[in-house]
Point group: C2
Amino acid sequence: MSADPSARRGIPDATVARLPEYLRALTGLAERGITSVSSEELAAAAGVRSAKLRKDLSYLGSYGVRGVGYEVDHLAYQISRELGLTQDWPVAIVGMGNLGHALAAYSGFATRGFRVVALLDQDPAIVGQEIAGLAVQPMSELTALVSEQGLAIGVIATPAASAQDVCDALVAAGVRSILNFAPCVLVVPDGVDVRKVDLSTELQILAFHEQRKALASPAALRKAVAP
Amino acid sequence: MSADPSARRGIPDATVARLPEYLRALTGLAERGITSVSSEELAAAAGVRSAKLRKDLSYLGSYGVRGVGYEVDHLAYQISRELGLTQDWPVAIVGMGNLGHALAAYSGFATRGFRVVALLDQDPAIVGQEIAGLAVQPMSELTALVSEQGLAIGVIATPAASAQDVCDALVAAGVRSILNFAPCVLVVPDGVDVRKVDLSTELQILAFHEQRKALASPAALRKAVAP
């Protein structure tokens, strides 16, 4: 029926969740001028085992070459295509506090195929201000943004107290994919995907390694063997 | 030698990387008043397969109870302890632009055991300003923060152009764990851990599902089968 590879094959959600990590690792390699990578190196960079990596990439029809590995640019393209990043995704950011400001200026969205087409805020005092080259619009513009600009993804950068109201407005306007930076759980109808960003996730992984380093230090050993 | 469980057992890095996801899912369940959860439910909430979840949790000595599953609060505590979150980690944020402001005010750090003890900036015009209850300090204070406050983790929220300089200053002061929000690759000596945050990761997962939804819609099917 469809020309798109992801519609033909079933890719496990757990694999989908790891693809951005592989893409991030590949982008890092490309930035350092590395053009090919072994499955072991790429797996180490992405923090998975190489058998898992090879299995994940096999869902994309990508098997690498024995003794050579994967071509960095080509694999990055394959993953981008699978994730739908080779097309342009119009994104709106709602909530123009510090986080909204930071997200509006974040260059990492554009390089991943996400085009910020609108910034919105519920506060009339903020509507009309220009941020990162865009005039902040009122929430009443949402429906027009969906029908006229094809707005597909809404990013919620409001305080927790107003996040559900903003979420309801996005859903009512027809947005079916929501990225939530507010520290709260959102309730949405079936057919709407919500991903919640926890900015402390990477800190937690660092804490694990920091703890391990601290325990391996002489002071910690003395403390641990003390009576 | 040590009383800490993580020092006795080797937990694979890939498992460590998934623990924050499990903790996030458990926190979400607890917020909704749910006190026990099956491995299938928890695996679905975290986006992994249940066999993987059970294997990961077995490294923590946590096996659940047949027919009952896992006790939400207790498992959250076990994961927190394993990640080192039951102790207090002093954190400094460097770079007080919009992202730095947003991170300074982010409540999710404190609830995870990360205490923001210092905000710093290279710009003398910003030093001394009060943000989220803390006066912004100059970079020259870093060494004192490490020795006097036990500063363990540095968060870089600067533009890409100054991130490496800031990173070098953190490392020189004795910080061995760095969380990098700047869109660039940092070079650090052995023994220093760097994690790079890509704010577009979750957007990429949403794009995959958005693409699948779009392909399943009648308009997309008509387009796909057109000659």
